[in-house]
Amino acid sequence: MKAATDLVSCVLVGTIIGVYLDKWLHSSPLCLIICILLGSAAGFKAIMKK
C-alpha cells in the first residue's frame, strides 16, 4: 500500500507540474512527457529507498 501511494503520488506531481509548465511556456506535449518520465523515475526511486 505504501509503495503504491508513493508511486502514484510522484507520477501525479510530475503530471501536474508538466501540465502547468506547458501552459506557461506554450510547449504543449514536450514538458508533460518529460515531467511524467521524471515523476515515474522519482516514484521508483522512492520505492527503492524503502
Binding site: T5, D6, S9, L12, V13, I17, A42
Partner: protein
C-alpha cells in the same frame, strides 16, 4: 434497493446547516459534525483523565499518559532532542486522525478521514511545517536535501529534479494513503454486508463471521494508519531538524 445498498453512499456529504458566505459554500455537514465530535471527545478524555493528576495514577490517567509517552518516544527515536518543540502538533494530529478513524467505525457514522480534502489539509500542514522549519533552521543550506551525498556532477541536475519531485509528492502520498485505506476498508465492509442480502437463503449466514473478523481488522487499520501518518511526519521532520 440499489440506492440504499450502494457501498459508496456512506461517503456522501449531507448538509446539516446551510451557510453561504460571499458565494462560497461554508455549510456545516456531517463531516464537520464528526470532526467536532472527535475534538470534543479528545478534549473530554484528557480533561477527565488529568483532572485529578496524582502520583499513583488512576486507570484513565495511565491511558492518557501512555498515549503521550508513545508519541514522545517516537519523536525521541526519530527526531532526537531537536524534536521537542514539535511534540504538541504531532500529538494533536495523531489523536485527531485516530479518533476520526475510530468514530467512522460506529454504525450510521461518517468517516471524516475518508475524504482526500480532509487528509490533504492535515498533510499540507505537516509539509509546510517541515519546509518552514527547514528553511528557518538551515537557511538556503536546506536545499542540500535535494542533492544526495556522493552524486557525480554530471548526474546532479537530473537527480535534483527527481528529489524535488519526491519532496513535492510527500503531502499527496501521505493524504492518499490515509484516505485510500479508509475508503477501501469501509467499502469492503459494506460489500460483505451486502452479500447477506443478495446471497441465496442457505448461504446467508456465511459472510457474518467474516464480517466480525473484518471489523476487528478495520479497527486495527484505523489505529495503524494514524500511527503511520504520525511516524512519517516524524521522519519528514527529522529531515528538516537534523539535516544530514
Amino acid at each position: 434497493m440499489t440506492q440504499h445498498h450502494n457501498p459508496l453512499s456512506q461517503f456522501e456529504l449531507k448538509t446539516i446547516l446551510p451557510l453561504d458566505i460571499a458565494g462560497l459554500d461554508f455549510s456545516f455537514t456531517n463531516s464537520g459534525l464528526l470532526m467536532f465530535v472527535a475534538i470534543a471527545l479528545i478534549s473530554a478524555f484528557f480533561a477527565l483523565s488529568l483532572r485529578k493528576a496524582s502520583i499513583v495514577p488512576s486507570r484513565l490517567q495511565v491511558s492518557a499518559e501512555m498515549l503521550y509517552r508513545m508519541i514522545t518516544d517516537m519523536m525521541k527515536q526519530n527526531v532526537g532532542e531537536g524534536g521537542k518543540p514539535f511534540i504538541p502538533i504531532i500529538f494533536t494530529t495523531f489523536m485527531f486522525i485516530m479518533t476520526c478513524n475510530l468514530l467512522g467505525m460506529l454504525p450510521y457514522s461518517f468517516t471524516a478521514t475518508s475524504h482526500i480534502i480532509v487528509t490533504f489539509t492535515l498533510a499540507i500542514i505537516i509539509f509546510l511545517l517541515v519546509t518552514i522549519v527547514g528553511f528557518a533552521k538551515h537557511g538556503l543550506h536546506f536545499l542540500s536535501l535535494f542533492k544526495p551525498d556522493g552524486t557525480p556532477a554530471w548526474l546532479a541536475p537530473l537527480l535534483i529534479v527527481i528529489e524535488l519531485f519526491t519532496f513535492l509528492a510527500r503531502p499527496i502520498s501521505l493524504s492518499l494513503r490515509l484516505a485510500a485505506n479508509m475508503i477501501a476498508g469501509h467499502v469492503m465492509l459494506k460489500v460483505m454486508a451486502g452479500f447477506v442480502i443478495t446471497l441465496m437463503v442457505v448461504l446467508k449466514p456465511l459472510p457474518i463471521p467474516l464480517m466480525v473478523i473484518l471489523i476487528g481488522f478495520e479497527i486495527f487499520v484505523a489505529i495503524l494508519q494514524a500511527y503511520i501518518f504520525t511516524i512519517l511526519s516524524c521522519v519528514y521532520l527529522n529531515d528538516a531538524v537534523n539535516l544530514h
